[in-house]
């Protein structure tokens, strides 16, 4: 199992737009929809990418299992911590069986596009994702939240670090919605630790302040 990898490959330069506007002060909320952010996202599970594509105001190019054979499934799975701690033998046995079945189908001439039906959600995938700034802020609001599932939360936190480094002014206030809004919008599902979460993301913002960063620095 490998750690997920996120890299901000490119983004629309906000300073070019501000420069073109002369002295006109355009609020960040008006500027963000005109900017886009393109990330290379690697070594996430297919279950994570399923969650990701629910964010519809975005563009995706994902590695295809029709074209790419999963040669060594065991080396290309994401294993949840709970499974590796509580039932590693059960999880490993299933991956082994899935791998055997997948390759058995291929050996009997079943095409990749059909053999992939037996691959588990744990299978690693890579994709290119582009979001406009407003959609990205919304994504971070939902997925940096303590209620988000651990893998997509890890992904969102890594993306946040990258966009804060690239555009510190625009994304200093980005993070889970309790950090953005100053209150938790999750109602009775709230984790109840709003102040703790807000303090954590404030400290992250302070730590990153002044760090111009690199848009191409991998997070792992």
């Amino acid at each position: 199992m490998n750690a997920l990898k996120v890299e901000l490959l490119s983004c629309t330069p906000a300073d070019h737009i501000r420069g073109a506007l002369g002295g006109m002060d355009l609020p960040d909320a008006e500027l963000l929809p005109h900017l886009s952010y393109t990330f290379a996202i690697e070594r996430i599970s297919r279950s994570c990418s399923h969650q990701l594509v629910r964010h519809r105001v975005a563009s995706y190019a994902q590695q295809s299992q029709r074209f790419i054979e999963v040669e060594r499934l065991r080396e290309h799975t994401v294993v949840p911590e709970t499974a590796s701690e509580r039932a590693p033998d059960v999880f490993d046995a299933y991956i082994e069986a899935a791998s055997r079945t997948y390759h058995g189908l291929l050996e009997r001439g079943v095409p990749r596009e059909d053999a992939r039906f037996v691959l588990p959600n744990a299978t690693e995938t890579s994709l290119l994702m582009t979001m406009d700034g407003r959609s990205l802020l919304h994504f971070l609001g939902l997925r940096c939240c303590n209620r988000a599932q651990w893998e997509i939360k890890a992904l969102a936190d890594a993306m946040l670090a990258q966009v804060r480094a690239a555009e510190p002014g625009l994304f200093r206030g980005a993070g889970p919605y309790c950090y953005q809004l100053g209150r938790c919008p999750e109602g009775r599902f709230s984790c109840g630790r709003v102040q703790e979460v807000r303090d954590r993301y404030s400290r992250l913002a302070l730590a990153e302040h002044g760090d111009s960063g690199s848009t191409r620095a991998a997070s792992d």
Partner: protein, 135 residues
């Protein structure tokens, strides 16, 4: 009506080529992008092979213009595609943005001064795409 490109995603065609190869390559998109960024000839060759119906890979970018136009002209543009994004700056100036797919589909759908200005403005950032459109 006057249209001036003020910003766009850097390395537009390298990103398009990265999106193309990401779906069919065993390498991750970061490695693909790094390789392609150093090889503009390969980027041009790949992007030149792009088939029109695979428009989604043209979406990994954003172009931003300042448009001088009256409200009726802005409405005409909005009616061409719902994917144009507008912010009003003052009585006659607007910030307009979209991705390359929207720009290309708009230009292919109509031959008016706006479409011509749109294509002219993206020629420098996406030369292979514009050449393919004009071929």
């Amino acid at each position: 009506m006057r249209l001036k490109l003020v910003a766009h995603t850097p390395d537009v065609e390298a990103l398009i080529a990265t999106a193309m190869l990401t779906t069919t390559s065993g390498s991750g998109p970061s490695a693909i992008f790094r390789r392609l960024s150093r090889d503009p000839t390969r980027v041009a060759r790949l992007v030149g092979r792009l088939e029109a119906q695979h428009g989604s890979i043209l979406e990994h970018n954003r172009f931003c213009w300042i448009l001088e136009a009256v409200e009726g002209e802005v409405l005409d543009i909005l009616l061409k595609s719902r994917f144009f994004n507008f912010t009003r700056l003052d009585e006659s100036r607007w910030m307009l943005s979209c991705n390359l797919r929207t720009a290309v589909e708009c230009a292919q759908g109509s031959r008016d001064p706006f479409a011509e200005a749109l294509v002219d403005s993206i020629r420098g950032a996406a030369p292979t795409i514009v050449s393919s459109m004009e071929a």
